[in-house]
Symmetry: C2
Subunit: 458 residues, 2 copies
């Protein structure tokens, strides 16, 4: 049997693990600095918790788990030949894999409402699974790193989360553009174009403008039954001038016809801009009125982060973080009137950017500090005792397990980037000594064998 793993999934070797740990720890450090608390949710959710929350495409991409036991029992009394694929699936599958961290979090908040103090600020770093077509940079199992505040409508939360995005990318040394918009402005524009009642459909199309261009999206909208004039009125408001976030908002305010939605959206963006000024943001924040974000559940501010290719040599064009406010997500789980806002870092994409820009710090790999050469059974005993003493002092150490040729043992130490190799051969033992080789400098030292721990503690 040829060993293999499913398309779109991955294993991580030690070197990648060290880099991933660096990335996760950087993000986690920022989350903690801002008072967010860790939470984890089950990987396996009831299928009804997930279905219908991510739009039609989402439903298709959710990984469903086959019921355990004999599935024929689930099909008893059914005429299998008359069932659609969807109906058959539903009968034999009651559970599914986590698709993102936001919907499970809303479910979590509704379930644990009596044990949480609101506003509740949580972070969560876990894998999610999507049956997407695998391609470069798109995996079927990938990690999301989310921070959300639930139970507060204050825009200070938006300010804080945008500042956290800024902090993370400053620490990672990736220059980014943080794009900001407000769903209510998009709604105002849709209302002006007379197509607010089809808002979800419109959003799905607008979301593709940056990737596919205006004319492709126009065609899509026409095929959905929208008229030329409606589309003109929509697109006409999508270009906003201005050099700074503030100016861009002011321009949009002049440009978009007044209605309640617009006034609310502009007011909120102005307050966020004000807060950001006092938060000393390092990266560029930019207003983009055509920023839509695909997910259904956003109702207020929306945020999307891309690599700033004017400031580095990245070819990476996908968003690497994003987020927004959702007012009604916990409603679906029986907890109405609780607004939430959150951000999500796409760890796997950020990893790819760090790799592309060669931004991983040197020396991340964990390695053994001290390896003892194996000189055979009689000599092993002393080594085990020395190693025990080193471990008690917190120094990583190992004895090569087999008494094989030096060359092989040294090769192992080399490949594993061991810092020091210790020899206790005949010559040394006769003198109650050991020889220590520094594997970086090549320098060798002989010391008394009762001074090994002290030597490495220095």
């Amino acid at each position: 049997m040829k060993p293999n793993i499913p398309k779109g999934t991955r294993d991580f070797l030690p070197e990648e693990m060290a880099k991933r740990t660096y990335l996760f720890e950087t993000i986690k450090h920022v989350f903690r600095l801002y008072g967010y608390l860790p939470v984890e949710t089950t990987s396996i959710e009831n299928i009804d918790t997930l279905m219908g929350k991510y739009g039609e495409e989402g439903d298709r991409l959710i990984f469903k788990i086959l019921n355990s036991g004999d599935i024929l029992a689930d099909l008893k009394d059914k005429d299998i030949n008359t069932l659609t694929g969807k109906e058959l699936s539903r009968l034999i599958s009651e559970k599914a894999l986590r698709y993102d961290l936001t919907v499970p979090f809303a479910r979590f908040v509704a379930m644990n409402r009596n044990e949480l103090t609101f506003p509740f600020k949580r972070y969560q770093i876990q894998p999610v699974w999507r049956a997407d077509r695998p391609q470069k940079g798109r995996y079927r199992e990938f990690y999301q790193c989310d921070a959300d505040v639930i139970g507060s409508t204050s825009l200070l939360n938006e300010v804080e989360l945008i500042k956290m995005i800024d902090d993370v990318f400053v620490k990672l040394k990736i220059p980014v553009i943080i794009k900001i918009n407000h769903r209510k402005l998009l709604m105002a524009i849709a209302e002006n174009a007379g197509i607010l009642s089809n808002f979800t459909e419109v959003i799905t199309s607008i979301d593709k403008i940056e990737k596919n261009g205006y004319s492709a999206v126009k065609e899509e909208l026409i095929s959905k039954g929208f008229t030329d004039i409606q589309i003109f009125n929509l697109f006409n408001l999508f270009t906003v001038g201005g050099d700074s976030f503030d100016e861009q908002i002011a321009q949009a305010s002049l440009q978009i016809p007044n209605n309640n939605l617009k006034l609310e959206g502009i007011r909120e963006l102005e307050l966020i801009a004000e807060g950001l000024k006092h938060s000393r943001i390092s990266n560029t924040t930019s207003f983009d009125v055509k920023l839509a974000r695909g997910l259904n559940y956003y109702t207020g501010t929306i945020i999307e982060v891309k690599v700033d290719s004017t400031k580095c040599k990245s070819q990476f064009n996908n968003s690497i973080a994003g987020g927004g406010r959702y007012d009604n997500l916990t409603d679906l789980f029986g907890l109405p009137g609780v607004s939430g806002v959150g951000i999500s870092f796409g760890a796997d994409r950020i990893y790819d950017v760090l790799k592309e820009l060669n931004l991983f710090p040197a020396g991340l790999s964990v390695c053994t500090q001290v390896m003892f050469i194996n000189f055979g059974k009689e000599r092993e005993k002393k080594c085990l005792e020395w190693i025990d003493a080193l471990h008690k002092a917190g120094i990583s150490a190992e004895l090569y397990p087999d008494n094989v040729k030096f060359k092989k043992q040294m090769g192992y130490a080399d490949a594993k980037k061991v810092a020091f190799v210790v020899f206790a051969g005949d010559d040394e033992v006769a003198k109650n000594a050991v020889k220590i080789k520094n594997m970086v400098s090549g320098e060798e030292n002989e010391i008394k064998d009762n001074q090994i721990t002290d030597y490495f503690l220095k």
Copy 2:
């Protein structure tokens, strides 16, 4: 919709997360001290990688994932009504969830053989999934913490791994008994009883002696077709005297009739006992010739760890760690002749023991160090700047997001165990000062507002 999660699955709240992190970090620290490197494997494996590796019961308990797309397409040209449940499952499910960490690791080693240096020492801490009947202490999603060495037959590996078990439980302050046996001794006994050809079946039954007692297991063996005399010859050798691990092995050596299997098993156990002496083990090691371990793939030493109830008040009777040597596991994936040995810590069970014995250290929870009271829009700006300075100094700080009553804000700080609360009200602002309240002692201090960071750095 009532929010709910599937039976046997769990969410983790911040306080549990802190305790789990303590547990994982303790284990990880020991793994690293001994030179083991981190690895992660995909959660979703091809179903053929897993099926047939864990025995018949294992096959049933593997969570299978429904193929994506229309499953009717997978059933085209099949007469559904003639299929068994198993056949139907197989047609519509090509992937499955990780069931343990050992089989995926064997697959990983075979796949990545050219990039690894052997002997390869890896650790892996990830969830696994089993469709077991949920009950107290048994979950459908739980974490395993594994360390394995692959590519070395040296018994020093066994010694090292047993020492690592000892280290972990010393650090966690759980007294344990580390039971050790050798599959070859069990085989020798089975050979003596004339039932070696049915070894797998015999093992499955022997594994239940401790839980169900001799008479229940005798009945089971009779129902499997074994004779009274065979069972007598089997059970007759299962009681071994002796006070220490050494003596117990010596006793077994006298008791079990000589054959090659026995001689090899005894020789290996003697070498391990010798190594353990020089490794300064703190917990009790004990030889148990009826220790079987359910898994098919073990071929040499087997290890099982239980709480030592003579030394603490634990009621916990399940094994909390275990492991053993497997000579042929990578063969199945096309890499023959590579022996492996490993241990696995059952994180969720160990968690339950730590909780039962009240052994979690105090003050594990991550908390915000400084919270600023929200005095309204005009005051927010200064607070944002002070918080930015605190964050840059590595001090966790947050501004309460809403300008609500003090009582509510202080209640939040209390519930979240914030260490200090900062007030910048009218009186303070007039003096360019802030008031700082120590939430543990209740003590209050007024300081100049340009000294906030310095104050908390001390």
